[in-house]
Symmetry: C2
Subunit: 274 residues, 2 copies
């Protein structure tokens, strides 16, 4: 039986933000597979009076590429509805006149084509996966330690994500490695940064208390959204682990089996008393 | 002109502990080269009435191998005078009945031959250098995250060391990556752990205030020794950086150009007033 106390605020909601990986689909070698019921759940949300956006820390492909992948899985989703760290980072770099050394997945490089990368004065680290060789991490370290004031940007700070064959290290641990090596604190661009969530709210034209975030990552999705004043709902798919329910600092407003159940309960509560 | 105020306590000293890499020699592709004057300086210390030990976080080779390398460079040094993390870790693992998953340099594996490594219930991370691939770090992460209570041992926690072509990441950043990924705190075996320094003092039969540690690493050599009550002297060789002198928490008792100068000043002060 799902805890449905979170639906008490369903009537006052005007918008929903969905995480992608672990909520809509599970990643894997073949590009990933939709989580059962999620294609239909997105359709039902779109048909409702709620505004809908997607907010991801996906940094293994350009936004065009991974949106195309989701469309191929059957999701009704377009690029302009999706917020991801790389375009946000490009805006910050240009605004501050910074030239990055990039430690990212090959598929993300095209997002940074418009940014000057000569004679780097900062490092941008994303989920580089197989590109996280000792040599590549050391190259990024040498750029940082050679700067008078090392500046490190991290595209998210997730600990790990779920792949078909098990959990895999995300960008966060590598961000921590560079932070420790150079005695700096990274600026996180992406979830759970409030700046990032507010850019989504601003695009929706809504206030935080009018919006619910649905994610599988307790700290970065649920906790980040709550810190902004949004409702944070966790799904038991993706990287969810039972120990999340005893987390020492973050407590989800509600926990549901999957996106399909979240949408059932949410739209049901908005239609009338349960 | 070297600051020689630290020599005021020279008369009461009864022993010296030397770090190896960055004090006796600089590492490099070809196994490394002695720092000028250091072979002679070790000889002079050995000929004095001071007790001498060597204390290293070297984990890229077994103790036999790297002592043989130092002997080949001309140093008067034997295995029983050298304290390094791997033998200390083996003792801890056996004492606590733990079976390690090893993420270490190939050259260190032989040190762990006597330890059961089936069905691991902890991870030991050392300076694995090129073995720090994404896949290997992920394998170690999966072992840890699969344990009810993850236990992580780190062979030292150095940030970086100096090689012929520049600074290189040490074990510390990778320890931090695993700590963050699994929300655990590593147990450090090696410098700056007090347990480790006390095992050296015990072997010397001396009290902390009777011993001086000489190293190039401000935090792990100098700071660690000072926390035990020893005098901590830093050399301006190896990984020394001018910014060390403005460190926010560790201040060396003295700083000298190199080991040769340290031994000159130390033995000179013991022979009579400067």
């Amino acid at each position: 039986m799902a805890d449905s106390s979170w639906t008490s605020s369903a009537e006052s909601l005007k918008g929903v933000i969905l995480d992608l990986c672990g909520v809509l689909y599970d990643s894997g070698e073949d590009g990933g597979t939709p989580i059962p019921g999620s294609v239909e759940a997105v359709k039902r949300l779109k048909a409702s009076d709620l505004k809908l956006r997607f907010c991801t820390n996906e940094t293994q492909a350009s936004r065009d590429k991974f949106v195309a992948k989701l469309q191929k899985m059957g999701f009704d989703i377009s690029v302009c509805e999706v917020f991801s760290p790389a375009p946000a980072a490009v805006a910050v770099l240009k605004d501050r006149g910074m030239r990055p050394h990039l430690l990212v997945y090959d598929g993300l490089l095209s997002e940074f084509e418009s940014v000057d990368q000569t004679n780097p004065n900062c490092v941008v680290v994303g989920d580089a996966a197989g590109n996280f060789t000792y040599e590549n991490l050391n190259d990024a370290f040498r750029v940082l330690i050679g700067l008078e004031k090392p500046v490190l940007f991290a595209l998210g700070k997730g600990r790990y994500y779920k792949e078909a064959d098990g959990l895999s290290l995300d960008v966060g641990p590598y961000m921590k490695a560079l932070e420790y090596a150079c005695d700096v604190e990274a600026e996180v661009i992406g979830k759970p940064s409030s700046v990032f969530f507010h850019s989504v709210l601003s695009d929706m034209g809504l206030q935080p208390h009018q919006v619910m975030m649905v994610g599988d990552d307790l700290v970065n999705d649920v906790g980040g959204a709550q810190l902004c004043g949004m409702t944070g709902l966790q799904v038991r798919t993706g990287k969810y682990r039972p120990s999340d329910q005893q987390h020492r600092s973050v407590k989800a407003d509600g926990t549901v089996d999957d996106l399909a159940q979240a949408v059932d309960l949410l739209l049901g509560a908005r239609a009338g008393p349960l």
